[in-house]
Symmetry: C2
């Protein structure tokens, strides 16, 4: 009896799962497409059919991590005034990143690759974060607490101002106490700017 | 006639100069202490006497770049009001980083190593930047333009808020127009916060 042909989507998922596990075990640089194919009992050519290069594979894995993380953020309905909510969101995002870094030893290597080649997942992540801030800032403006002329642009700058507590390159070797202090300072800074009628 | 014994400081400088050139040519990962020693016509043991590991060498080179860059920033005396001066300083810092990245192909690799191992040069850089902002913010408070309860802490947060236009990991693949726009937005945000009596 012939083995039933597997769906492309399933094969893709298998490759991502095995690649993720291999990267975790050996790092990205030391894992080859051939290694991944061998673990799956398929030919390297078959893996290449789904992912044209290791970079494309890394991009897809990075995107999986991003979606997994952002998936935990549908709780924006917490009943709190916008300035407080801003702190809650940034704190949750930072903690999610910290967990990811602790769980995945190859995380920094992945981020470095993404930063070096400007992969699609990097853009995707930035858009998700900016949307999160945009919704919050718009709510704040509607509540008369925040002021901004162009809320879309302002949310981009607010998102950017939190880079040093949200980008993994800054999180890897800081203590939790340092990060918490910096986060509180940045939230106070953003709130002071957003609450000021001077904010553009 | 015996060759006069060279001063340790000179040897150290030679090693740094040659290592810098080699890193630029081949990248850090592909340059070994043995390669550097060979270029200098000395034994690897002699190089190790000055730098106990490649990481220590990378740290020293990174520090050289930082000092070189910060050396160009003694022009804080520009006669401009503090909010405008803030923009001038951040713009100059960003341009200096961009030049360094363009000139040194190994820059991102170096930053990645520094971020991964939290080298001394990383701390050194952060202190220099925070001092720069502290001086400016204190001037602004004295001029009655800025308000802050704890200017030392505030300057740390202001410095942190500019990470996405000052840290090389963000600069490598952005267009100049994108960076300029983000920089202007972040400067406006920081100025709105610093000028607001709400700022802590």
């Amino acid at each position: 009896m012939r083995k039933p042909r597997r769906k492309a989507e399933e094969t893709r998922e298998d490759i991502l799962r095995i690649a993720d596990a291999l990267f975790r075990e050996k790092g990205i640089a030391k894992s080859s497409i051939a290694d991944i194919a061998q673990e799956l009992g398929m030919s390297p050519a078959n893996v290449f059919k789904h992912f044209h290069s290791k970079t494309v594979l890394v991009d897809a894995i990075c995107d999986r991590h991003i979606n997994h993380m952002i998936g935990r953020f549908d709780t924006l309905d917490t009943p709190a005034p916008p300035p407080e909510k801003l702190g809650i969101i940034v704190r949750r995002l930072m903690q999610a990143h910290l967990e990811d870094i602790r769980e995945n030893t190859f995380f920094l290597e992945m981020i470095f690759l993404v930063a070096k080649t400007e992969l699609e997942s990097g853009f995707h992540y930035r858009r998700l974060i900016e949307d999160l801030f945009f919704d919050l800032i718009r709510d704040g403006v509607e509540a008369g607490v925040y002021h901004c002329a162009d809320c879309r642009a302002t949310s981009r700058y607010v998102a950017a101002s939190f880079a040093s507590v949200l980008h993994p390159v800054f999180l890897a070797h800081e203590t939790q106490a340092e990060l918490d202090e910096r986060l509180n300072g940045l939230v106070a800074l953003a709130n002071a700017a957003l609450q000021s009628p001077l904010a553009k």
